[in-house]
């Protein structure tokens, strides 16, 4: 079992590495500037500099600007007044002369220092009009840049994959009182783990939202979105709730105990440390510098939406697929069996998109169900179509396998023997056949949940459901490499967990199967 888990982790690493390699080498890196307003506004050398800074932000390269090199050099000598020093200004202006800039000592020092570290020195010559006047955005720049290899990128990604908050996280000398302790939480009425010095104030707390207990201590870092949610952490994108603001009558932390109430959507459990200056109004409302917050919204997060629909579809498919399969096997070659087989062939052969559209056309016209996820008044109705569409192919395959297993078991010797002993057909089915036939079905449960989650790649796009599948497809269309890698990691991890869980479940259900042992472990 341990070997199996280790191998799974190894394969996850390989998958991340291969996908990173493919995505970062094959895709033109300039796609990150698609529909980037800053990039569009800038021109000439300024645009190039912006590109370098963005490439660094998204992990393509490391680069150092000559000006910042000078700043740190002269700050060390003169302190805060370095900007008015003559030698600083002379060095700074040296690069404006494209013919003679290399004679400057600081430039030489800069070039030597970074060339020895493997950087490439690049000089962006000033872009001028014929008169010699510099064009807008045409200022000269000197910089050193070094490409990051995929391997380095992977290491950084993995190093930051899971981070835990500590009381040393906040870099603020003013904050002297650093602790983590259990306090009474005025917002839930229960207790909460509260930190000072950590990025989040509430590390563990309860509230009325599923799953009711939440934590801000461990963070999974899947990377940063490039284009779809520019610059946002993908974990945040996936887990933060969407929809309209949900206002509540509540109190600011500093006002607790008074009778001053406010109508606000602020989620006081989301407070993070403010490293800047606290405004006067915030200072009145908050007892400490934890004043940065997010809002409560009334819809589920991307992740929750996908999981909710996926789980509902899984429940639905077992609820329908198994009884139908059993019924078909008991009325073999009857009309119902033939109808069931026709359905199975239909969902096996026809492209899922085709039957999803047929189904939605029928259901929306006959039952008047909403056909797009967004435009519906009653939220519950919006889930019906995606759930059913997602379950359709799996109901078919469950029917097929259940029927097959049942028929196989019916012809086995032990059933014939049971019949000879005089057991009724009902008893044979209930006690003997279903127990054996259910084993491979149990094995498939986690894989089916996974299937429902990946199947969402189609249904979420058809119905416009804001879920992980749609996130991935939008990312593919907008060249959002960060999200693509994050979604690959997400789906692959789920898949690995599902495969392992399937085997564990089967071993738990069937005493004849052992996971470890001579040659039995692994697959």
């Amino acid at each position: 079992m341990l070997k199996r888990i280790l191998f799974s982790i190894f394969s996850l690493l390989v998958v991340i590495m291969v996908v990173m390699f493919l995505v970062y080498t094959a895709i033109n890196r300039n796609v990150i500037f698609q529909s980037d307003d800053v990039w569009n506004k800038r021109s000439g050398n300024e645009r190039s500099m912006y590109e370098y800074s963005q490439f660094q932000k998204y992990g393509y390269l490391d680069f150092v600007n000559y000006t910042s090199f000078l700043q740190s050099k002269y700050y060390a000598i003169y302190g805060d007044s370095y900007t008015s020093q003559k030698d600083y200004i002379a060095d700074k202006n040296a690069i404006k002369d494209s013919a003679a800039f290399q004679n400057n000592e600081s430039v030489q020092e800069f070039a030597q220092k970074y060339a020895s570290e493997g950087f490439k020195i690049k000089y962006l010559a000033p872009i001028t009009y014929k008169s010699g006047k510099v064009k807008p955005g045409g200022d000269a720049y000197l910089l050193a840049e070094r490409e990051r290899s995929v391997f380095q990128r992977l290491l950084t990604y993995l190093r930051n994959f899971i981070t835990a908050e500590t009381t040393k996280d906040v870099q603020d000398p003013e904050l002297t009182d650093r602790y983590v302790r259990v306090e009474k939480d005025p917002y839930s009425g229960l207790f909460a783990v509260v930190g000072s010095g950590t990025t989040h104030k509430y590390l563990l707390y309860f509230d009325g939202r599923f799953p009711f207990i939440h934590q801000n201590w461990l963070h999974l870092n899947l990377g940063t979105s490039y284009t779809t949610y520019r610059g946002m952490e993908i974990t945040t994108v996936m887990t933060s709730s969407t929809g309209d603001l949900k206002t509540e009558r509540t109190q600011y932390p500093a006002k607790i105990g008074t009778d001053e109430y406010v109508e606000t959507a602020i989620d006081f459990h989301s407070l993070t440390y403010n490293t800047g200056t606290v405004s006067a109004s915030d200072a009145a409302n908050f007892p400490d510098k934890y004043t940065v917050y997010s809002y409560k919204r009334d819809s589920l997060s991307i992740l929750e939406t996908s999981f909710l629909i996926g789980l509902m579809a899984t429940v639905l498919q077992y609820f329908l697929g198994i009884p139908l399969g059993i019924w078909m096997s008991r009325h073999k070659n009857g009309f119902g069996d033939k109808l069931g087989n026709a359905y199975i062939i239909f969902v096996m052969a026809v492209p899922s998109l085709a039957y999803i559209f047929m189904f939605s056309a029928v259901a929306t016209t006959l039952l008047g169900l909403p056909y797009k996820f967004a435009n519906t008044e009653v939220r519950v109705l919006a889930y019906i179509m995606p759930t059913f569409s997602l379950a359709m192919p799996w109901i078919g395959s469950l029917m097929k396998w259940t029927r097959r297993y049942m028929i196989d078991q019916m012809n086995s010797d032990y059933v014939k023997f049971a019949r000879a002993e005089g057991l009724s057909e009902k008893e044979i089915y209930r006690i003997h056949i279903s127990r054996n036939a259910i084993i491979p079905i149990v094995h498939g449960i986690p894989a089916n949940i996974l299937g429902c989650l990946t199947g969402a790649l189609v249904t979420e796009q058809v119905y416009g459901v804001p879920g992980v599948g749609r996130l991935l497809i939008t990312a593919l269309n907008q060249h959002d490499n960060g999200v693509i890698i994050a979604c690959t990691v997400f789906y692959t991890t789920l898949s690995i967990v599902a495969l392992i869980l399937g085997d564990v479940l089967m071993a738990a259900y069937d005493p004849r199967i052992k996971l470890s042992g001579e040659g039995g472990g692994g697959r």
Partner: protein, 325 residues
Amino acid sequence: MTNEPVVNNMENKDKFVIIGNDDIASEKIIAPRYSYWRSVGRVFFRKKLNIFLIVAFILILLASFVVPVFCPYDPMENVTNAATFNMSPVKAMAYFGKSAPPLKWILGTGPQGNSIFYGLFSSAKTSLLLAMACAAINMSVGIIMGAVWGYSKKFDAVMLVIYNIVANVPYLLLVSVLVYVVGSGFGSFIFALTITGWMSIAYFFRTQVMIIRDREYSLASRCLGTPIPRVVSKNILPFLTSVIVTLLATELPMYISMEVYLSFIGIGLSATIPSLGRMISQAQSAFRTFPWEFWPPVLVASMVTIILYLLGQNLADATDPRTHM
């Protein structure tokens, strides 16, 4: 008849000639002649549905590979004439009148004044070509690799690791990301679907080969000194004919579905190649307002896949020697 005395053999010895005995002939067992493929045909054509399926399949092939030659599809034909965009069948027939080929506008026009009816044939051609190319590559590579994989222990160890890694990634996700990486186009599409697609087929074959490899008749054959390539090609592969056809029956429709899905999410074939998926994806936002643009490709895709699937399944049944009784 006259009653002559019985002639003594010994006395007429010289009348007989010794012809020796034929060792080979004595080994022969008289059995009815059995031809495998003739039996397959007999079982297959016993069902009336199969004849219908064969005819339908030939019609589909003709429609998608011959019709586009005579009725060339040009999606940009009326792109400058905005009056022809999104015309219903009735309007289009009236608008183009008798000057046009008789059936060209029977299904109306698309968002750029293109003929839906002609588009169907060219699109079906693309989809079928893609599916056939992918199936041919995946099946042949899969079967050959599977046979080697099932036989060689060293190869097995290496391939299992690779397979277990690849199998962890959901196929739909894998193909989406690959198509995204290699870019859109006919060739890159085939590349994305085949680069790992053969692996599951090969894995399936590995297991089948391993099962049959250790059967008694196969062991006996090896004891008698039959070389391994001959064991594989004569003892094992014939046994797997029906398995191969069953696989083909599910693979072909699957590739068509893949094309439809990838074009639908916007990363499939390039915009200039007409395909069923592209037609569906172009019309999906307007499937209520312009149903004549949306439903024909959906129905054609369903029809083609169902016919391929059923034909394959029934052929697989017929190729199984156990049904030849």
